[in-house]
Amino acid sequence: MKNYVYFLGCITPNRYPGIEVATKKSLSGFDINLLDFKGASCCPAPGVFGSFDLWTWLVVAARNIAIAEEMNSDITTTCNGCYATLQEANHLLKHNANLKSQVNELLSKVGKRYQGSLNVKHAIEVMSDDIGLEQIGKKVTRPLKGLKVAVHYGCHFLKPSETRMHGSAERPRVLDDLVKALGAESVEYRDKPMCCGAGGGVRSANLEIALDMTAEKIDNMLDAGADCLMTPCAFCHLQFDRGQVELNEKYGRKYQLPVVFMTQLLGLALGMDARALGLYDNSISSESLLNKVP
């Protein structure tokens, strides 16, 4: 049994709790135990708060990491933004003693201390490295045969590749391999590594620009014949799910491409109930996807 402290962030628990429940349920069968990250705040978002004040961004991130350090467990998360912030802050602080002591001076005012004693792993890494995709494939009881999945990686899991160290950011494979392990097909589509449009404060201040990017991605996925799109990131998930509704309402589009989180798709392949995995809690209906699942 391996323990992780599960960093929820903002969007997973406060908008898409289905991601939270699906991640806990689908990983528990592989001896992964997700512990509560008690008292965690906003990560804070790397492209948003990092754009406003890098120093504040770093100190708040260090406080979050310090909570997990008190529990002696590595951190995992289901949002690329949270992953980016915690992984990058951890990386910066582990490699800069001067920065670490400045941060700790401030954290001491709230009784916290960053030590640099743990690792931050995306839930993708928990599946691919700790469990292994082959192992996951062996436990599949409901192979998702015939389902065409458009994989979206998002930006901050892979990039900057120098800090993240997950190999190629232009031609990643891990999520495509996961989809295959679940018995489904990963469809290739135009500009696959492109951003969902939400990051860097663009969604909050320039929604139409964010949506224009989202529409381009969805169009490319639909052109490739995708039955659904799969995300590893709660924020991308929100952008694609709410974004389609916004595009339909504001711009008269007719998008209905189901959005599924990677651990929800895993749960389905493990034979779990779609309702219990939160697949009925998206804004865009999952019905067409569920009808295709054997």
């Binding site: 929820l8 903002c10 628990p13 406060n14 908008r15 709790p17 939270e20 429940v21 509560d36 990250f37 008690k38 008292g39 965690a40 705040s41 906003c42 790397p46 492209g47 708060f49 754009s51 406003f52 004040d53 890098l54 120093w55 504040t56 770093l58 100190v59 708040v60 406080r63 800069n96 920065l99 401030l106 954290l107 005012k109 709230v110 009784g111 916290k112 930006c155 990039k159 900057p160 590749s161 950011a169 232009e170 492109m194 951003c195 449009g197 939400a198 990051g199 860097g200 404060g201 663009v202 909050s204 201040a205 320039n206 620009i209 964010a210 224009d212 990017m213 219990a276 939160g278 809690d281």
Partner: protein, 187 residues
């Protein structure tokens, strides 16, 4: 024989601004990384890779040229500076290994200090000041959580008021609340 053209270099303008951007970012990142700004050869790989630049007037190559030429006000007041989604595509592809996205964040930090934070962004900050989350819980999601078998309130600062106080104390101590609420550098 000397050239008949008046010689101009990328660094021919006011150098101070580029150094200010490098120094600001260096509080967090390594100075060598930020100083890659000066290695820019204006090839345009960044702008050519930019998903935001395909649909807006945001031109990262141009912003870097202006930064190197010391056009401080031009850069820091540019609305388009906020169209970058921080996707890192340009940083990954830059043949000169310029830390483009980190430099953009440093530029934006300076813009915020000059009072150019967008209203919508100030609202997001206000949510963090009130709840410790940029996206706080609402009644609908509480009901969904309960139905899914989760605690109605997640085990975050939402459930622990004393933890929220810690976060707020940090936001005071770093000067962030003042930065946002006074719209810029504390006077």
């Amino acid at each position: 024989m000397p050239s008949i053209l008046k010689r101009q270099t990328l660094h021919g303008g006011e150098k101070g601004f580029a150094n200010e951007v490098i120094d600001h970012g260096s509080r967090i990142f390594s100075k060598d990384d930020l100083a890659t700004l000066k290695a820019c050869i204006q090839c345009g790989t960044c702008t050519g890779s930019c998903p935001s630049g395909r649909r807006t007037a945001w031109r990262i190559r141009q912003i870097f040229l202006k930064t190197l030429n010391g056009l401080r006000d031009d850069v820091l007041t540019a609305e388009d500076l906020w169209n970058c989604t921080t996707c890192y595509t340009c940083q990954e592809r830059c043949p000169r290994k310029v830390k483009t996205t980190d430099i953009v964040r440093s530029l934006r930090n300076l813009a915020v200090r000059e009072g150019h934070m967008r209203e919508d962004h100030a609202k997001v900050c206000q949510l963090v000041f009130n709840y410790g989350h940029a996206v706080p819980i609402n009644e609908d999601v509480k009901a969904t959580r309960k139905r899914l078998g989760l605690t109605e309130i997640p085990p975050t600062v939402h459930q622990y008021p004393e933890a929220l106080q810690e976060v707020l104390k940090i936001l005071e101590a770093t000067g962030f609340r003042e930065l946002v609420e006074r719209k810029g550098r504390p006077t």
